[in-house]
């Protein structure tokens, strides 16, 4: 659980959605694929780490669009630090604090595009290029080619389920750490099916609630992975406090 077929069966467990005349297999598949996408976005279900090389004199790198550096990009995952630079000297430099908007650069660093290329990134930004691709930019431009100069933690939409045995986001692989929450995809489909096909608002709201609960819980679960030291500290502190002073 849950493959694409499992999710379909789960939706049909709602007896009002059993009819394939009312909710066709094709329509249900549309809703389930949509549900997988929404849960990836709302629940941070599929966090990926990608690396790419710096290119000499390059100002921007495409994240979403043609010739993207990463696959199936949805959003930066800030909980994990977002972006980290690896310098030519082999040092890692977090870029989280260096993000600015492009308009901020225009305002505060006139002619920033003309600055000499440098290994040291002063600021970075997200923007769009002339064809609408989402790009990641650096100021100053990259000076030299550096292998794996950028490490990105991001939310991915994953790949769409297609075959009966496909799992969400990674067709051939079950991401077991998200498995308890994947029922949210079925809830999403049931929500939209009642909203669209049975026109049963009460049932739609019921499933919307169920979906949101799963999405928020999954998001929290993912977040904790990158807050291990905080969680650990809190657990440790509580334990020490309990032993020392009774309880907190």
């Amino acid at each position: 659980m849950p493959t694409f077929a499992n999710l379909r069966a789960r939706v049909r467990l709602d007896r009002a959605l059993k009819s394939t005349t009312l909710l066709s297999v094709v329509d249900l598949d549309i809703l389930l694929k949509e549900g997988a996408l929404q849960l990836a976005n709302d629940g941070d279900a599929f966090i990926r780490r990608a690396q790419w090389d710096a290119v000499a004199s390059a100002q921007t790198y495409v994240l979403s669009g043609a010739s993207a550096q990463v696959a199936n990009y949805l959003d930066l995952y800030w909980e994990a630090g977002g972006m980290v630079q690896l310098t030519n000297a082999g040092k890692t430099v977090p870029l989280q604090e260096k993000f600015r908007s492009e308009s901020w650069l225009d305002l505060h660093v006139p002619a920033w595009q003309d600055a000499a290329a440098s290994e040291t990134i002063t600021y970075c930004y997200l923007s769009f290029n002339s064809v609408g691709d989402l790009v990641f930019g650096v100021y100053p431009k990259s000076k030299t080619a550096v292998t794996n100069a950028f490490t990105l933690y991001y939310k991915s939409r994953g790949t769409e389920m297609s075959a009966d045995g496909d799992y969400p986001w990674v067709a051939a692989t079950l991401l077991t750490h998200t498995e308890p929450y994947q029922i949210g995809i079925a809830y999403y489909a049931q929500w939209k099916a009642h909203e669209t096909f049975t026109i049963n608002q009460a049932r739609a709201l019921y499933y919307k609630q169920a979906y949101l609960e799963q999405a928020l819980a999954l998001r929290e679960s993912q977040r904790k992975i990158f807050a291990a030291e905080l969680e650990g500290l809190m657990e440790d502190a509580m334990r020490v406090a309990s032993e020392s002073f009774g309880s907190l």
């Binding site: 007896r15 009002a16 009819s19 009312l22 026109i199 009460a202 049932r203 609630q209 949101l212 609960e213």
Partner: protein, 547 residues
């Protein structure tokens, strides 16, 4: 949609509220209940002519009924079974060609099996010795008539008539030099009457062996008013109390006639023939006419069944509802060998017929002559069975007139409620009419079906449905019903009472439709079932144009 957030979740929870599961789920569904009257079969091609709405009653129109019957306002019921009377098949398993109760003179069944006749003695068929030659053919129906303690036997294939008298051990050829070509006989007005193709000869009073073929005969060649012949032959003869109906038709005639013989009161010419206008139809065969109640009912070669009350012909017949099916699917060339009998216990008239291309009867249609309204097509109830019956008869057992039916394998069986089915069990199938679920322009989601069965024991019924005219049936599942207890025969402290008062069962359907035609079939061949009523749980749904 806005991104997931705790605020959105809280807002959704407020909107959704918390209500009972019934409010949330079942509130939108309405029961659409179907109860009687469940009529019989009609072969209407327009399948949706009966207006239906929630709790509005309509008649059943079903092309797929088999071995089930139903009375108006009664349950849909498995047809009564039949039990073989003879343990060993008669005459090496040849077809039964005649059954007659010798109540008047011997209180036994006289049973013909093609080329032999015999008596039934407590379930054992014993051939009578001395039988002259009888044509060995399963269509060679035997007629039996009684006069003055003598039974006269005549055969449709025109074998020489026989007689049986005390001590009932052997048959002998009928005396009195009867006409050759006798194919039937009846006893009426103190005389024996012998039927041939164009003549009916009658004997002297109380003397089966005295015939005057010149004076004591009724010539039906001239009665048709067509000179020498219009191609018709005497096809049926039925005694109706103070009169006798005589039909003329025949396999080579496009016309048919019906006459009635009655007394004149004139000793010199004691009988007269009265013509009954039927619009050109007459009985198709010697066994395809019978008295049911006070009516003469006969099958004609047009595939319709007709009814005459006294000398009044009911226009258009009583078989219009099955006529198109008979013409389409049944053997017209064997209409002359169709046969009829009465299941008096139920008030049913049985009509046995052959399917197209077949050479033996394989279907029996049962007409509810008590509840039907002759002339009102929608209230003429016919029930369809695959009983294979060649010859019909009756016997009296403990005062009850019981139907005895003879098959093609040397068996004759009684038909009674409660009897199990002899030999291989019969499929019992009931198909409802097209039920509109409400507004004919509205689509409905059908959640499932609840059925109230009569508590007749443990049985399983497979349920299927069709939802559009050109669609095959979809099987949903099987009702598994546990039988109820019948009070009255239990021993206190010993027997365990249990079961349901009614066998109410539920199956989920989960489909969307405007109309539904339900089908119930016994899952196991030997399990009859009776349906009191059924109800669908439906909910209107919005659909676009893609259904």
């Amino acid at each position: 949609m806005p991104p997931a957030s705790v605020a959105l979740l809280e807002q959704t929870i407020r909107q959704a509220g918390r209500r009972s599961w019934q409010e949330e789920f079942l509130a939108d569904y309405q029961p659409v209940r179907f109860s009687g009257p469940f009529g019989g079969f009609t072969s209407h091609q327009t399948t949706d002519t009966i207006p239906q709405a929630p709790n509005r009653r309509g008649l059943t129109k079903s092309p797929d009924l088999l071995n089930m019957y139903s009375r108006p306002f009664g349950a849909i019921t498995s047809f009564p079974g039949h039990v073989n009377i003879n343990a060993v098949a008669a005459n090496s398993s040849k077809a039964i060609t005649g059954v007659s109760w010798m109540g008047q003179i011997s209180s036994r069944l006289l049973v013909a099996a093609q080329n032999q006749v015999g008596f039934d003695d407590a379930g054992t068929w014993t051939q009578l010795t001395g039988s002259p030659t009888i044509t060995d053919d399963d269509d060679n129906f035997m007629d039996v008539a009684y006069l003055n303690d003598v039974a006269v036997l005549a055969f449709l294939k025109k074998d020489a008539p026989l007689q049986v008298a005390s001590p009932f051990t052997a048959t002998t050829t009928l005396g009195g030099s009867p006409r050759s070509g006798v194919k039937g006989c009846f006893s009426w007005d103190g005389r024996m009457w012998l039927v041939s193709d164009q003549n009916i000869d009658y004997s002297a009073i109380n003397n089966v062996a005295s015939y005057d073929l010149t004076d004591d005969t009724l010539n039906f060649l001239q009665t048709t008013g067509a000179g020498t012949s219009d191609g018709t032959i005497i096809s049926a003869w039925v005694v109706a109390g103070d009169a006798v109906y005589v039909g003329k038709a025949g396999p080579n005639s496009t016309l048919g006639h019906l006459f009635r013989i009655s007394r004149t009161g004139n000793p010199a010419s004691p009988y007269q023939i009265e013509r009954i206008e039927t619009g050109g139809v007459g009985p198709s065969g010697s066994k395809a006419a019978i008295m049911a109640g006070q009516d003469l009912v006969f099958l004609a070669n047009d595939g319709n069944v007709h009814l005459v009350r006294g000398n009044l012909y009911v226009p258009n017949g009583i078989g219009r509802s099955i006529q198109r099916t008979l013409v389409a699917d049944y053997s017209m060339s064997r209409m002359e060998f169709a046969s009829m009998g009465l299941l008096r216990e139920h008030g049913y008239l049985g009509l046995s017929l052959s399917l197209s291309g077949a050479t033996t009867n394989a279907r029996a249609w049962w007409y509810d002559y008590l509840n039907s309204q002759p002339g009102n097509e929608e209230k003429e109830f016919w029930h369809h069975t695959d009983h294979a019956i060649n010859a019909w008869g009756e016997r009296i057992s403990s005062g009850q007139r019981q139907l005895v039916a003879g098959n093609y394998a040397g068996r004759y069986a009684r038909h009674l409620s409660g009897d199990s089915y002899a030999g291989s069990a019969y499929t019992k199938r009931w198909v409802g009419p097209w039920h509109l679920l409400g507004d004919p322009y509205q689509w409905y989601e059908v959640l499932g079906i609840a059925v109230a069965f009569e508590p007749t024991g443990n049985f399983n019924v497979t349920f299927s449905y069709a939802k559009d005219f050109d669609q095959a049936f979809t099987t949903v599942g099987t009702f598994n019903v546990k039988g109820g207890a019948e009070l009255g025969s239990f021993v206190l402290g010993t027997d365990t009472l249990g079961g349901d008062e009614h066998g109410v069962a539920w199956l989920e359907i989960g489909d969307v439709m405007q109309r539904i035609k339900p089908r119930f079939t016994n899952a196991n061949a030997d399990e009859p079932f009776n349906i009191l009523n059924y109800a669908l749980l439906v909910r209107p749904v919005y659909r676009g144009l893609d259904i």
